[in-house]
Symmetry: D2
Amino acid sequence: MVIVMKPQATAAEIEHVLRRAASMGAQTQPIHGENHTVIALIGDLTQVRRQTFDAMAGVLKTVRIQDPFKLASRTTNPDGTTIDVGGVRFGGDQVVVMAGPCSVESREQIIQSAIAVKEAGASVLRGGAFKPRTSPYSFQGLGEEGLRYLAEAREITGLPVISEVMTVETIDLVAEYVDILQIGARNMQNYGLLKEVGKTNRPVMLKRGISGEIQELLMCAEYILSNGNMQVMLCERGIRTYETATRNTFDLNAIPVLKRASHLPVVADPAHGTGDWELVPPMSLAAVAAGADALILEVHPDPESALSDGDQSLKPERFADLMHGLRRVAEAIGRSIASPAGETAADDAKERDGAEREKEVVLA
Amino acid sequence: MVIVMKPQATAAEIEHVLRRAASMGAQTQPIHGENHTVIALIGDLTQVRRQTFDAMAGVLKTVRIQDPFKLASRTTNPDGTTIDVGGVRFGGDQVVVMAGPCSVESREQIIQSAIAVKEAGASVLRGGAFKPRTSPYSFQGLGEEGLRYLAEAREITGLPVISEVMTVETIDLVAEYVDILQIGARNMQNYGLLKEVGKTNRPVMLKRGISGEIQELLMCAEYILSNGNMQVMLCERGIRTYETATRNTFDLNAIPVLKRASHLPVVADPAHGTGDWELVPPMSLAAVAAGADALILEVHPDPESALSDGDQSLKPERFADLMHGLRRVAEAIGRSIASPAGETAADDAKERDGAEREKEVVLA
Amino acid sequence: MVIVMKPQATAAEIEHVLRRAASMGAQTQPIHGENHTVIALIGDLTQVRRQTFDAMAGVLKTVRIQDPFKLASRTTNPDGTTIDVGGVRFGGDQVVVMAGPCSVESREQIIQSAIAVKEAGASVLRGGAFKPRTSPYSFQGLGEEGLRYLAEAREITGLPVISEVMTVETIDLVAEYVDILQIGARNMQNYGLLKEVGKTNRPVMLKRGISGEIQELLMCAEYILSNGNMQVMLCERGIRTYETATRNTFDLNAIPVLKRASHLPVVADPAHGTGDWELVPPMSLAAVAAGADALILEVHPDPESALSDGDQSLKPERFADLMHGLRRVAEAIGRSIASPAGETAADDAKERDGAEREKEVVLA
Amino acid sequence: MVIVMKPQATAAEIEHVLRRAASMGAQTQPIHGENHTVIALIGDLTQVRRQTFDAMAGVLKTVRIQDPFKLASRTTNPDGTTIDVGGVRFGGDQVVVMAGPCSVESREQIIQSAIAVKEAGASVLRGGAFKPRTSPYSFQGLGEEGLRYLAEAREITGLPVISEVMTVETIDLVAEYVDILQIGARNMQNYGLLKEVGKTNRPVMLKRGISGEIQELLMCAEYILSNGNMQVMLCERGIRTYETATRNTFDLNAIPVLKRASHLPVVADPAHGTGDWELVPPMSLAAVAAGADALILEVHPDPESALSDGDQSLKPERFADLMHGLRRVAEAIGRSIASPAGETAADDAKERDGAEREKEVVLA
């Protein structure tokens, strides 16, 4: 840490800062510049509180030199972390595509969606059972019933599932049914929730808050990691800026920035990122080109009837088209798209037939 | 609601929208402009989902005409709501000053602070027992122990207390000790928490999230109100913008905007709003001039030693100076500063003596 | 300046930085922390380019310690600068109110406005002759004709006038007619224009750009000051944020921040700041309470017919009401509102009669 | 346009709005909803000023339905516009790469850069002769001397050149030397400058301002187009948000949004967009994947010695690597990278030899 004194700081004020820093266990190194005295703090800074110095007379500002996160930092694992979810690997050479409807609305809807997204090549199924909604008068999700349908869809298709957990009390319930726990953007800084999912052994996808700084996102990941759960993925899903042409500003820059700063896999969510289904295909391609390890996409058999996010959902046929494009872009940058678990590229043809059969079975 | 069709929308697409809207119970009124057809939806729109139309072919955009909140709207109570907390009235002619340290750090610290802020004229005591902290390695609050000290400080000074509640599980605990439940900025959209405080009968101060739109703040208040608790105050505490000269951008405009849109009392928090104690006095005066019904301020007997927010806390003597200024500005706009409950202006002199005596008793 | 090396920076990379800094004339002081080496640069840094180091291998980041502006800094004039414009003093104990229509639309309109605002107590007349407009299809101002009407309004009322200059070629023309040159928000970083107004001897009011950082505003002032014109005022007029409840977010925090950082007088523009006439009165009172040295307000005899900014203009009678409020708030903080030049408080009664007579004369 | 009345608007206020709209030539269609009356304005709205209604009693707000730009709209040219610059075509199937140093610093530097970027496959040379700089104490560009060197570099390499024009007075001078006039971000709303470049017959690349809305960018393009110059390209170069991990937030979403809204070619500038050379390669690939018609990149033979923007410049070898990646991603989405004018893929081998020879000649 560096403490910058005001130009008019007195010798007594400087002395006071030096003594205080020492009392917190830091070594100090004063530097007398032309206008300012600057005090560098080195050594063990674990007991040093930055705000103490900001509150002191004569101090202009303090500047942090070291990152405030440790376990999330790339320096702790320079090769990058990979996370295995039922045979699907996040953070490796392959790019994982997670897809499905925003909300689980019915048994039919989620099973039909699961088959459709698997057929097009997705390897993880998404679907919300507990929904955080801006209006108390909107659909709030099916709850446990939705979780059961998700589990059933997994059984039929073999796709692992991801779903959001919103409260501490429901962690065990959600973890019983799903393969990846999603922490939504509104809960990025719900520290109680972060600590508790940090005590589970389920992989967690942590979404960046709508006004979360990249550094804050990493600090929030630190809450999970420091509680023992090292299977954390970070998800960019759009930030709030002055621009209103898109619902949010999908911040693709976060992808290479996070890959550089951290060893954790990075997921991109272009549906929430832009809020506009017409923008999802180009921004999905761009996310892969920028280095995302996974995509999470909204696919709905009938977007107009969706109980949430219909405006940012793709129809299954558009999603299938997009998958073709994604495979080509992934290849162009030396990666590939992960196949549904247990499959090889050779299974592709069979898969399509199988899906047809599954459809008959299920919807009969 | 108004649905704007694309210039090239077909007759079939327009027809589809009209039929869909009718099936949701809305009356429709198409308007054929020079470039666009626009469809106005009137009547009962409770079953109308805007995103359905945004997902439809031929639709350019939808525009909401009516506010999405009802109970929070000024139209439901044009005269404004007042909330009584142990004899202190929020939302009336008087401006309430709440003050105290960011965190309860010890019995001595909170009692000493309570006496000091009461002496200077504050009528509510603040102090955090459960603290949401950006870093998992920071001080997280004293928990229930802190609540007990707050209650003790209330007993000694007669000041009602406000403190933050962070989780559903601790609502009952916090409500047992404190007079006003504070919902922090990070939890503005923690809907589970909002619903549950909505079921209590404690007044609630809801803080605007760091990137909360004013309309979203009102929607969040709606979650509390619609669960039966009508004693809600709204608090402006700074938003996140590109400007870094202040920690946040304290958005004073929100004060008159909220007063116009809603009947709920409005509180200003210049300490978090600016993050800089030197800016707290001028911005406090400005908040009162702009029409705030209350201020919440951080006062700490020794800001340098504060375990949190020392950099935005006032020393007691600076706070006393500020109180003088606040009284003058309140008067200039035809209001006054609320006295500690049960007191009259005439008690002022006695009060000061009393405080001296209290100090002796307590710290003996 | 402080250069922070990456944790894995090599000795050779550190050495390279040290030598490069020395070659630019800086003294260097390396500090070896636990994870990072940090290099402090002291002495004469005028030849040091920060980006050189940011481009170097092994460098994590650079941190500027000193403000990049000099002449605008409060340290060059700790007592604050006052600027005299035809007997009206900016930056002293009195708060100056500038008022008038957004655009000069006709001889009658500007003269009528001038009389009305003077009568209510404004001491400077505003009015745009050259208008920067978002649409090429909007009214672009009367140009020189408008300047002539402004000058005529000054002759009749004695009020100095302020008007915007948009291009280098028209500086001489505008300076011939007006008392204060206004640089609009869109031109805050029009460096060619800043340099040239820096060579005139007319006071300049420089508006903060809609996304201007406070530090950038001061750097832009530096362009004017370093060209020899020391009569610069800084104007806060709203910044662009995610909030859409107000057209801009009027950043009142900038007022105390600028007063602390700089010796230049600070003006507040609540009309552009909020874009909503109903918010102008409370935010004007707040601006004075926060320490603004002057206000610039839009007053139009018939806002509905205004060719620009009618939605943020006050009618003369509302403005007169506001002036009463401003006088009271100014007094509450130990200041007063400047009277029109050459007047004393005692002239007030006469003034009102005079204004009546002026009206007859002019509009006859 | 739609005018939304307040719930408590009186019949007289509604009548007043209707009459006013009619007096401006609009047809009106009132819609009486449950809470609000809404008035739709149709027909010829060219004489309708939105602010007139915002200033009226009883009006809650006005909502614009039609885009305020016409010539820039995709509806005026649904197939998209292509612009030919010395044989290089913008807006077609090929993606154009423009590259070179931020500033022209010397004859050697620009010629060496031109050869290097051509060799790697760039087809347009960039280089600034007039530089807008935040500090009055920074390097301000070589001016006309720089333009001469650019022209010389073009003569040697055959690459067309792009350079910034900052003032009306220098348009003719810059247009004499360069092939594409660049309007910088700070001048996006310098309407005088826009009008004048609109009267030239040089292609113009208009950069989005650091806080420019996408719609504002299109309105600014409209200033150029409506003056007769239809050869306009739009450039995304990063916007200002709260995130500080990148210098700006490079808004890739703007690329598909602009392509949908307008027929004009879209350029991406990842160097300014991110301000960090390590992020330029991934974000360049992403920009092409998102649909950009061209890239403009900073390449400098020795970034550490660059007089501006060294921290966001690529070394020539890194740029050559990036070009390989760009070719693969362009192919993946069915496009290709434009070759330097007059060349075919077959020339590629020869080209490299030629460049070697050119180098000898020039630097001898």
